[in-house]
Amino acid sequence: MTKRGARIRLGIGSAVLAIMLILALVSLVWTPGDPYRLAIAQRLQGPSWMHLLGTDQLGRDIAAILMIGARNALLVSVGAVGLSLLVGGALGLIAAMQPDGIGDQMIARTSDLVFAFPVVLLAIMTGLILGPGAASAAMAIAIFTMPVFIRLTRDSAAQLREREFVLAARAMGASWLRIAVRHILPLLLPRLAVQASTQLALALLAEAGLSYLGLGTPPPHPSWGRMLNEAQTYLGTQPLLAILPGVAIALTVMGFNLLGEGLAARLARER
């Protein structure tokens, strides 16, 4: 990737994500109309000055529920990837500190096993255990994205482990835990950030799919995936209802992907 390509990607990616984040944050204090108030008389309207993007099948303002949907999508995917990063990173570090140990083997086998379960299947199982809802969707997504973080941390930390500064720290009497946290982890953070951005894109797609199937955020809380499910009945009468939430999902996912690629290119050049 050229330097210009990386800059363009970083620019577009962070701009899109900033807009989504602002919309999500603003929805905490203000939305263009009450997203929970039903007004059946004004259902399925087209865009107007009253309702900039029209109204849905229950007469709610689409712009308002899209904004709250952004909050929900970002919250679930950031929460899931954050959890996955924390647990996966820790497991990867442990595995790297004792290469060829039983723990290392078990972690490798377990992550291979996780690859056999598409995220929908994981969500069905977490839904049965924790009860359906956003929390079990987030848990499924966290499990689904974890093997990538485990592998990345383990492989990168195992490389760094052979370097002289680790030997020096060891000679000064530092424990493995201290070396892992104080000396190796800070060097891994850029790589983990790049990976996290890509995984956030996947997490957002997964959240939308799960909500579409009814395995995510329950009604009446707005979510982009479920909006698409409900819109299917009104494809002939109000196609906007099926287009807008998808555009929101695609833009946000692309934002995370572009950001990740831009960061990766910059990181590769610095090394």
């Binding site: 056999a116 839904g127 199937l213």
Partner: protein, 322 residues
């Protein structure tokens, strides 16, 4: 020497088979714990909160839910080995039969989507490698394909080709007796699955092709006077195929997961639809059979891809130490 190679290959195959068996057993254990043990009394999960004690007791004895969990697990595994998937708690018929009917929709759909995504992905990658000025276009396509959820693409296709143009059905499946009509019903769902999938394949294929194009033997081939297209097809593509094969194997998990959602978008009577119905009706016998079937398919394909790779590329046999 030849015999040594053969026994080594046989041994590596056996080791892989044993590994596969262990993974299948582990997957079954995970599924059983998640569905039968952790949510609590299976009979209560199936019947819900308002069930009478009599109904609970009847269901328990009918499906063997009154047995201790380890025993139930052994019984399930034993039955699975015989192809017995249990009796659905909602339909009251053998789950194996339900699955069999749906396979006639899901398998053709998955194959169609796989074929489409491979041809469009490889096509785009070859185009960009052949004429660098298409590079930007292909990258943009890839970026968009990566970001579009397949079920939304399905909705857009319905909106355009069914609601708007009236060319193709918006959903449902007439059965294979309908011949062309049945295939028509699978076109839009297959495209919805294949376009995003193809974008991922295109990106990786392009990266792999570029990697091989930088090799010395490519320069030799070009110096001999081979055209760019000839270099691509004769030298770069075969070398990119082995890692691409591994990628396709890993992508299967995404494809199958996606097909669960897309089948529901198009109301296709496949495994994904059966799964959604089983979730809605708390039919845990059908659910655990379906989840095991999906996980087992993915594990088997992963393991098969490993063997295939080792057969195609002898270096991998030595590297794996087997």
């Amino acid at each position: 020497m030849e015999i040594d190679g053969l026994t080594a290959r046989l041994r590596s195959g056996l080791v892989r088979l044993a590994g596969l068996a262990a993974s299948l057993l582990a997957a079954a254990a995970v599924i059983f714990v998640a569905i039968d043990v952790l949510p609590g009394d299976p009979a209560a999960v199936v019947l819900g909160l308002n069930a009478t004690p009599d109904a609970l007791a009847a269901l328990r004895s009918e499906h063997g839910f009154d047995q201790p969990a380890p025993w139930r697990f052994m019984a399930w595994i034993g039955a699975l080995a015989h192809g017995d998937f249990g009796i659905s708690t909602t339909y009251r018929v053998a789950v194996a039969g339900l699955i069999g009917e749906r396979l006639a929709v899901s398998v053709p759909l998955a194959c169609l989507a796989m074929g489409l995504s491979l041809s469009w992905g490889l096509g785009l990658a070859l185009l960009a490698a052949w004429r660098p000025r298409f590079y930007v276009v292909v990258t943009a396509f890839g970026e968009i394909g990566l970001a579009i959820p397949n079920f939304w693409l399905g909705l857009l296709l319905i909106l355009t080709f069914a609601v708007g143009l009236g060319l193709l059905p918006s959903g449902g499946f007439p059965g294979w007796e309908a011949g062309w009509g049945a295939l028509r019903a699978l076109i839009l769902p297959a495209i919805a699955l294949a376009l995003p999938q193809g974008a991922i394949i295109a990106r990786l294929a392009l990266a792999l092709l570029n990697e091989t194009l930088a090799e010395v033997y490519i320069r030799t081939a070009e110096a001999k006077g081979l055209s760019r297209a000839g270099v691509l097809v004769r030298h770069a593509l075969p070398n990119a195929m082995v890692p691409l094969l591994a990628l396709m194997g890993l992508q299967l998990s995404f494809l199958l997961g996606g097909s669960i959602i897309v089948e529901n978008v198009f109301a296709l009577p496949g495994l994904g639809r059966l799964m959604a119905q089983a979730i809605a009706q708390h039919d845990i016998i059908t659910l655990r059979a379906l989840i095991f079937l999906f996980a087992a398919t993915i594990l088997t394909v992963h393991s098969g891809v490993g063997i295939l790779q080792a057969t195609i590329d002898p270096r991998l046999r030595r590297a794996s130490g087997l």
